[in-house]
């Protein structure tokens, strides 16, 4: 492609390099001093009025975390973080009633109007009439959970994690850490120690959740880390579609997001977990963006259970995320559909792990990586077939598209087979938007920007069709915005 075309593309990119979710909400905040130590953990636990066992668990995790080393094996370069330079708890004051643990029914008045405005601007519906149930998390706390009553009639529990600790301690104790133990990895240990809030979902046996359940994460305060913990349990024969979204204001220093998601899928149950990740990626050089170090894992516990991860990743300065499926139940199914787009100096190291334990377990991995600008985009995935997993099947397809000659696209699959009846296939290709393809579009009167957008959407189609409808649209829009000006 010619120099001028590159330039055109770059100007195009720069034009749209704004991050429309980058506003900051002025509100009175209850925020802990920077730093982490046992007192901070006790303070967080006390603010949430947590029972003794929860505090013990946090402290155990904290003590273990101190013995661990910050991992740097991902294909991303960053300075070691100063964990004393973050505040580990921030909550809008008005919403403190949601965190004292005894509030069961929130009212519209309980929300700080500024916070409500923020969510309105983000297009997150906080009323009970929307066709989606939302748990809105603002910095460290859940400020509102909608449609709880309606769902309660069906026996579905949908509330913030803090409330679940108070109201459903048995369920929480049973499942917390059962998929991602506190000692799992560095960031999971940190999360367990300082977990701020998160979402708790329980779908009782045989219930098909009538609406999509969703959580929207918003980091607002500067220099705070967000450490939410999501626990989703689908009991026998149930079904739920869960959606996650996120954003943060524009900042000039890195912010840390180290979440843990645990999903347990029982016999014949199905969980569809979709994420549209749009954390603030930072400025032109990705300074000040979000460091997104997330542990997501699902356990397909029962026979015929199914877990499907779909993700559209466009934000964050650095992404380090491997939503995984442990296929323990016989005939269980794991799926992973991912579109990861990196631009400027973003670095994404993302993929999945499929651990086949049960007989006749199946998994599918479709990963589409797009890199533009000076970014690096890495797929890293593990497919492991244990000796007992008779008849396991896996199909993996990793496609990369490079947009411009200063970015990188990498594929690092790990395939470990210990059962001869397994059938595992992996394919990876690399392509780019070629001159002749562009010419073809242009010859038909379609301008370059639209042509690129069309080709990119075609490239990602297999994944987008897995996303819930409105989300698929949002993802396409996001892709367009994130891509503007980057194409060459």
């Amino acid at each position: 492609m010619s120099e001028t075309q590159y330039q055109e593309i770059n100007t195009l990119l720069e034009k749209s390099s704004f991050y429309k979710e980058g506003f900051y909400t002025q509100t009175v905040v209850d925020k802990l001093e920077k730093g982490i130590n046992e007192d901070v953990i006790r303070a967080i636990s006390a603010k949430k009025n947590e029972p003794e066992w929860m505090l013990e668990w946090r402290l155990k995790a904290y003590r273990h975390w101190l013995t661990m080393k910050e991992p740097h094996w991902a294909k991303a370069e960053y300075e070691p973080l100063d964990y004393q330079d973050y505040s580990y708890y921030a909550a809008p004051q008005c919403a403190s009633c949601a965190t004292d643990g005894c509030a069961t029914e929130e009212t519209e008045e309980a929300i700080d109007p500024e916070v409500a405005k923020a969510f309105e601007a983000l297009g997150v519906p906080l009323n009970d009439d929307a066709d989606i149930a939302v748990d809105a998390i603002f910095d460290s706390v859940s400020v509102r959970t909608t449609q709880r009553e309606k769902l309660k009639e069906l026996g579905i529990i949908f509330c913030s994690f803090s409330e679940a600790v108070q109201e459903y301690p048995d369920l929480v104790r049973k499942y917390l850490g059962s998929v991602v133990p506190y000692h799992d990895n560095f960031f999971a240990a940190l999360n367990a120690a300082v977990a701020s809030d998160g979402t708790f979902v329980y779908i009782p046996p045989g219930v098909r959740c009538p609406v999509d359940i969703s959580t929207y994460f918003r980091i607002n305060e500067a220099k705070t880390g967000q450490f939410e913990r999501t626990l989703l349990i689908a009991d026998k024969g149930s079904y739920v579609s869960y959606i996650e979204g996120c954003s943060a204001p524009i900042r000039d220093s890195y912010q840390l997001h180290a979440a843990v998601v645990e999903v347990v899928v029982h016999e014949d149950a199905e969980v569809k977990y979709s994420t549209v990740q749009n954390w603030y990626p930072g400025d032109e050089d990705c300074e000040g963006g979000i460091l997104n170090f997330v542990t997501k894992r699902g356990l397909c516990e029962g026979r015929n259970s199914k877990l499907s991860w779909t993700q559209a990743e466009t934000g964050s300065a650095i992404t380090w995320k491997y939503p995984s499926c442990i296929l323990k139940g016989d005939n269980s199914i794991g799926e992973f559909y991912s579109v990861a787009l990196t631009n400027r100096r973003q670095q994404a190291d993302t993929g999945t792990k499929m651990i086949h334990i049960g007989k006749n377990t199946r998994s599918t991995i479709i990963s589409k990586g797009l890199s533009a600008g000076k970014s690096d985009n890495t797929y890293r995935g593990l497919v492991k077939v244990m000796p007992g997993a008779e008849g396991a099947r896996n199909y993996t397809q990793c496609d990369s598209m490079l947009i411009g000659d200063k970015c990188g696209a990498h594929t690092f699959p790990y395939i470990e087979i210990e059962n001869p009846t397994a059938q595992v296939e992996h394919e990876a290709t690399t392509s780019r938007i070629g001159e002749d393809q562009l010419f073809y579009f242009k010859a038909r009167g379609i301008d370059e920007e639209d042509a690129i957008s069309m080709m990119v959407n075609g490239f990602c189609k297999e994944v987008f069709k897995e996303l819930p409808l409105e989300f698929a649209q949002e993802a396409e829009e996001l892709l367009k915005i994130s891509l503007e000006g980057s194409v060459g």
Binding site: P387, L402, K406, T411, Y414, I415, I417, V424, H426
Partner: protein, 438 residues
Amino acid sequence: MTTSSASLAKQDFPRHPQSDKLLAWVRSAVEALNASDPRPLRRDVRMQALQALETRGFPSRKDEDWQYTPLNDVLKADYATPAAGSVDASQVETMRPPFAASVQVLVDGVWQPDLSDPLPKGVALASIEQVDELTLKRWQQLATVERDAFELMNLALLERGAQLSATGMVDLPVVLLHLYTQSNGIAAPRHLLRVEPQAQLSLIEIHATLRDGAALSVPVMETDVGSGGILRHVKLQQVSEQAFHMAHHFLRQQDGSDSASVYAALGGSVTRHMTHTCLLGENANADINSAGLATGTQVMDSRTYTGHDVPNCTSRQLHKLVVDDAARGVFDGMIRVARGAQKTDGLMDNKNLLLGPKAKVDAKPRLEIYADDVKCSHGSATGELDRDQVFYLRARGISEADARLLITTAFLTEPVESISNDAVRHWLHDLLAAKLNP
């Protein structure tokens, strides 16, 4: 070239807790070598390599490049003090491959001109011992920066091996017949091969042990293929079932050069072969194939690194592993396309067949790409024998056992089919087939 090497340099070397025993062996061997060698360059090279090796130790399973290759047995074994054994002409005769070739015999890594055939026209061969310091220094400067523990070990033990060069069209294949005589010895030959511009050479390496036992061979071959040069390379590894083999082939190719290599693995307890290719000149092509058949409790590791450092190069790879019983097969392949290496065409295919109930395969086909106008792909498939294929043959009156053997043989020998010399191809094909149907 430097950019790719620099960014590859690893920072972290998890150390195997049982490193010390073999390290002590290497140190005493290096001290003995240096005590009797007045030449400063060789002494420095050995000492520096030894120090680097001692600092790092041998890799543990926590090292990404070694997570599937267990070294416990290699490090635990008792090795004899270094000695060069001797063989007689009748032993050479039994090991001689059945095709027209100039066979050069290396006993424990030491070239034996008396046991060897005359060299064909255009080939020069000298023992590493005779290579002058200046030439050695030039090789040192060319050396690929990426070092692993066994390559360092080989360098520390620099003494044996040969310098080979080819000019013009060499019509007779040259065979490097490595015979390891000690049942518990260590041999670390280092060969330096130069294919001059426009020259053509067909080189066949055979590595075999004459006695059973936990012997360790650590050969390194450094090859330079000049502009327009052509190299055909075959390596057969058939060391004894208890032996260890940790090998490297570093291949550097200039513009317009063409290489094709096949690695066939049959023997050994724990074995590993790395073909490390750097395409340094435009329009170069590299074909890299391998076929391994692991039975019993063998661990067979076959790996490649293919660096496309300049534009307009192609690489083609096919790697196959058949794993039976409780054996383990490992494949690791990396294609790296440097920034600016546009119009690269790289293809890597890995296929593994699991036969035994406890057989294991670990595969890591990797791509690292920094240029946009490239065609790169890799595929990896692992599974059992296709029942439909077996059925197809049975329907034609072929017994189950024969059908399985037929399909497995065809699967395993595919990478060998690319060898253009008929006699060499048949020889390798028959060896692989014979192990499948003893």
